[in-house]
Symmetry: C2
Subunit: 306 residues, 2 copies
Amino acid sequence: MTYSQLVEEIFKKKSFLCVGLDSDDNKIPECIKGSTKADTLFRFNRSIIDATARYAVAFKPNVAFYESEGADGWRALEETIRYIKQKYPEILVIADAKRGDIGNTSERYAKAIFDHLGADAVTLAPYMGKDSISPFLAHKEKWSVILALTSNVGSEDFQMLSCFDDDITAPQICCSKRGKLSLTNVTEKGELTPLYERVLETASSWGSKDNTMFVVGATHAEMLTNVRKIVPSHFLLVPGVGAQGGSLEEVSEYGMTAECGLLVNSSRGIIYAGNDEYFACAAEAKAAELQKQMATLLYRYSKLYK
Amino acid sequence: MTYSQLVEEIFKKKSFLCVGLDSDDNKIPECIKGSTKADTLFRFNRSIIDATARYAVAFKPNVAFYESEGADGWRALEETIRYIKQKYPEILVIADAKRGDIGNTSERYAKAIFDHLGADAVTLAPYMGKDSISPFLAHKEKWSVILALTSNVGSEDFQMLSCFDDDITAPQICCSKRGKLSLTNVTEKGELTPLYERVLETASSWGSKDNTMFVVGATHAEMLTNVRKIVPSHFLLVPGVGAQGGSLEEVSEYGMTAECGLLVNSSRGIIYAGNDEYFACAAEAKAAELQKQMATLLYRYSKLYK
């Protein structure tokens, strides 16, 4: 799926909602359960997909919830994505997998996610650098969604660390000294920026806004102004609205571009909105409520609303 | 598997060899091919495992190579690990998966890798911080193998960045300014350390040497002295010897502890040593050669050699 197709879909549906399919066998209503766990996962997903598709522009199955059921879980994930692509080809499918490995291995992951599963996009961890991401970017009309600033508490451990911001001298200094450096040595050579900014700056140069998105958690909405200085037009995938406490209003105020540039994810808030035989209606109502809010926010902050 | 069981196995076999099962259908000799790709992967792995088990203390299937064959690939991975644990229960199985996600999702990955697949250890990306790793550490007698300094070129992109090393003031500075800071502001407050050192320092405090290892690539062998200042007794998983150019000799000189503390991985160098009907013999010969070198190095640098 291309950038312009995604933008078109957003303004057609007046929604930038991504529905997270974190489908957990333990939380799925009894009435929809199938003969196997894998069957249950697929049946539940199919109901949620049909109930929310008119309000959503993306579905994001979290691979962990399928992998934890082994090969059968993978089969349910394959069936789920095939179902979406056949019935709703205009909807973006993001495999939330947080992969990343050395080049020849990332090629295999890209093959798994894009060719075998048929997803349009995949979430990736940036720690291993450019050659761990490039094999994904090489796939035409597919998306790499790179972690920048995540929504969890642990985002403070490394993503918020201040890094010395100088492309040329920083690695040289590390290598030549084999250890710690006192700051006085480099006082006049550069600036400090948080690691997540460095990831945005560096990783946005590997591809373009047509094949790269970044994950920025809604729990850090106030930092979106700063994020937009670095990546003014890339799409951002924003988790953390709802169960994790982020605000849709703030995310839109600080993060929306003229062409929207946001995909806001809600998982648990939608798919477990109900737990009886009306679970799909409850999910639909929740998705519709979010879409309504999103329409207002698109009207207020974007430029393409008609 | 416990730390002392692993050390015992190393000195019994006089080996710290980890055989990487990066099994690629395109490179597997014709003679071993089965009726399906999944069958081929398992048949090949079984031959390699039987040929190298007496020289190895760990097997490391790289999950990407199975995932890229979808649900059938997962089945082959399940069968491979089951085969190792049934026939060679004393050998550590590391699922090379490079996972890491928010807490409730990492719990699912831990379930997938430890409970469903039955692996003893898993490789993890540290970018999302403590709560992305803790669910793995909660599993008794299982191992989290955290990426610190990887063997690929991209390791220079972020892992070598100089970070401001001050637990308390660094995040405060980032948040309060919402942007860049000139270094003069913090000159007297701390020191700069490469990000990978910061990962070693921080992540080693989440668990202990009994449940945590770190990945340090052999292509950075000269940095192992420094790594050992931070984690003097943790096991290190060292990829990059062989195909990627790292030196076993240097890794042992700079990285070995009294109790060894190293698992050196070789994948392509062993499993594709031959490509005809004698591929298993070729793999065995290559593993035996490495084990012989390792015995000499254990004699020279460790303290438990008898």
